[in-house]
């Protein structure tokens, strides 16, 4: 006799979770409605800090959406069975996070009602316009890729689709990095290092999200992950975290070397109040050193440690993006090099930014969209990784 009461309570829990996600998404919609009717005056953004908390959430989601596909690529392109079994789940997470991220980005626009204009008036020199193609292309490609994995008759096309996704996501994250790399005048941006930095960051953030979701799905289905697989993916996270730390360090080191950027680096790393605090404590300590300890300390590195390390990597990602996006704008634009400047428009001043509740509602709304897509899909389709008893590679 099957114990139905346990199943029922699980069923109830599922709907409670879904309702909670829906409620958060609804909160996001409320924020959008308020910003639509009152204008961005109710956000903390202003003419100095033009991109705020919504962009931190959106860029995290989009970068992680690209990075999580690494799991799929290692399977499809490099033929590793352990990762191939996880490719459907990775692809689902990618689609879910991309949807959430794009929703936030789009709904933060001053005129989201005009989004069609972006399709009808295309500016070939705008990296934003390229990204519209890159994001929608990625969405379609990943859906096709999923189709080739989940529909037996489409299986022969799986390798080709996997390769296409592999190439596309590199271009996509390059495009995300280029948004900042193309800003010629701002001290914080305008560096060719940014696209590769975003690519390596995406590996770490995507895999961290994957670890957390995989853990939840295994726990929900009362299954445990093969320790050998756990160890492999855990070590991979460690390598990605070290890699991203290296890229971020290189970015700051090159800036420090240029005299005209030393003022900015001093602001971000030492004197800028919340920004150095978030950078050192949030990103370096919580987002990198602690996860590395949890991963590599002998005796640690079990399931709980991996989930904790992954969660910390995600938190660190938000800290880094806050410093990068908002700190980068808070530092005054150097219009007159060699001069002290002041004006009624914040010239020469550190810009202040207090994010409003509406911005957080919108950001969390994006997370909720990703959560709902994942939860519903995992329930109705089979995304549970199916490992073979013997791992050949």
């Amino acid at each position: 006799m099957v114990d139905l009461s346990a199943l029922r309570s699980k069923n109830r829990l599922y709907y409670v979770l879904l309702a909670a996600g829906g409620l958060v998404a609804l909160g996001g919609m409320y924020a959008v409605h308020m910003m639509e009717s009152h204008g961005h005056i109710i956000s903390g953004m202003n003419n100095q800090i033009v991109w705020g908390i919504p962009h931190v959430f959106a860029i995290f989601l989009i970068v992680a959406a690209s990075g999580v596909l690494n799991v799929a690529s290692i399977g499809s392109v490099f033929g590793k069975a352990v990762y191939k079994a996880r490719a459907p789940l990775a692809s689902l997470l990618s689609v879910a996070m991309l949807s959430g991220g794009l929703a936030v980005l789009m709904l933060d626009l001053g005129r989201p009602d005009r989004i069609m204009v972006a399709a009808t008036n295309y500016n070939i020199t705008s990296v934003f316009a390229w990204n519209i193609v890159l994001y929608s292309g990625m969405f379609s490609l990943v859906v096709i890729y999923l189709w080739t994995m989940m529909e037996r008759r489409m299986n022969p096309f799986n390798k080709a689709a996997g390769l296409a996704v592999f190439v596309w996501r590199f271009v996509l994250t390059t495009g995300t990095g280029l948004i900042f790399a193309f800003l010629t005048a701002r001290q914080a941006y305008g560096s060719a290092l940014l696209p590769p930095m975003f690519i390596v960051l995406s590996f770490a953030w995507g895999l961290a999200v994957f670890h957390v979701v995989q853990r939840v799905i295994y726990a929900w289905n009362e299954k445990s992950l093969d320790p050998a697989i756990q160890q492999r993916t855990r070590n991979l996270l460690g390598v990605f975290v070290i890699g991203s730390l290296y890229m971020v360090a290189t970015y700051h080191m090159t800036n420090l070397y240029f005299a005209h950027k030393s003022g900015f680096e001093n602001f971000i790393l030492v004197s800028g109040g919340i920004y150095p605090n978030l950078f050192w404590w949030g990103y370096i300590v919580l987002g990198n050193l602690l996860p590395l300890l949890l991963i590599y300390t002998p005796g640690l590195g079990k399931t709980k440690c991996v989930v904790a390390a992954s969660s910390l990597v995600i938190l660190g990602a938000f800290a880094l993006l806050y410093v990068f996006i908002i700190g980068g704008q808070a530092y005054p634009l150097n219009i007159f090099p060699g001069y002290e400047v002041s004006s009624s428009f914040g010239d020469g001043q550190i810009a202040s930014y207090q994010p409003s509740l509406y911005e957080f509602l919108l950001g969390f709304g994006g997370l909720a969209i990703a959560f709902i897509i994942t939860t519903v899909s995992v329930r109705v389709l089979n995304f549970m990784p199916q490992d073979k008893p013997y791992i050949a590679d």
Partner: protein, 238 residues
């Protein structure tokens, strides 16, 4: 042609006539709204030469004139649009203090136009950089890209707008070099308002214009000339 139908022919004639009568006043209105029929000429490059020695510290006449001309509130909160602002600059090494107005520099290679996803930011043939408020989706990428922080985002609903300078909540705006005045053969509001005639407006391409003659004879500079954007606004005495 035995099946010729005169009734059908007259019906078509009447319909066409009625349509013409209905459309004609509308076409006339569109024509009037467009103002001058001829397009901006690529032979012209509008620009300004600002003499910082003549720009008085504390004087905001150009700013006030701009606000009045374009229907701006004149507020200076971080969320208030400012199309032109006075900047006080002090040379760190020598201590020399100067005052100057800063606005859209109407670059020949404008970064805002490059990055705009919808071509809402555009450069007119005569060098004026503008924002099409009907195309702007409010992404603010141009504000990130502008090296002069010349652009503002409209954060609040607007009231009592100047009908000649329509603006819109949720879109980006900046100095339009008083394009409407220029098209009517006038100078810019800021140049007109400056009590010391520190702002000289004119056609940089016309070798005989006052501005072109002066730029040939005095030392002038572009702000952030290192970016090689070839700005339409030049500064003398910087």
């Amino acid at each position: 042609m035995s099946d010729l139908n005169p009734q059908r022919r007259s019906f078509l004639k009447t319909t066409l006539g009625a349509a013409a009568v209905a459309i004609a006043p509308g076409m006339l209105l569109i024509d009037m709204a467009h103002g001058k029929a001829e397009a901006a000429s690529g032979k012209v490059r509008w620009g300004m030469l600002i003499d910082t020695a003549q720009c008085k510290e504390g004087c905001t006449d150009c700013v006030n004139a701009c606000n009045k001309e374009n229907g701006l509130s004149g507020g200076t909160k971080a969320t208030d649009p400012q199309w032109i602002r006075k900047i006080a600059i002090k040379d760190v090494s020598t201590g020399r203090v100067q005052s100057l107005p800063m606005m859209c520099q109407h670059c020949e290679q404008p970064p805002c136009v490059d990055v705009c996803p919808t071509q809402a930011s555009f450069k007119r043939a005569d060098g004026i950089v503008l924002v099409d408020r009907h195309r702007c989706i409010g992404c603010r990428y141009c504000m990130m890209a502008c090296p002069y922080k010349a652009r503002s985002f409209v954060h609040e609903p607007l009231e009592n707008q100047n009908p000649d300078v329509p603006r819109g909540k949720g879109t980006v705006e900046a100095c339009n070099l008083c394009v409407g005045r220029i098209d009517n053969g006038q100078t810019t509001a800021c140049a007109e308002a400056c009590p010391n005639k520190a702002i000289l407006f004119g056609d940089l391409n016309d070798m005989n214009s006052e501005i072109a003659i002066k730029i040939r004879s005095v030392a002038s500079a572009q702000v952030r000339a290192d970016l090689q954007l070839n700005t339409g606004i030049r500064y003398q005495g910087l």
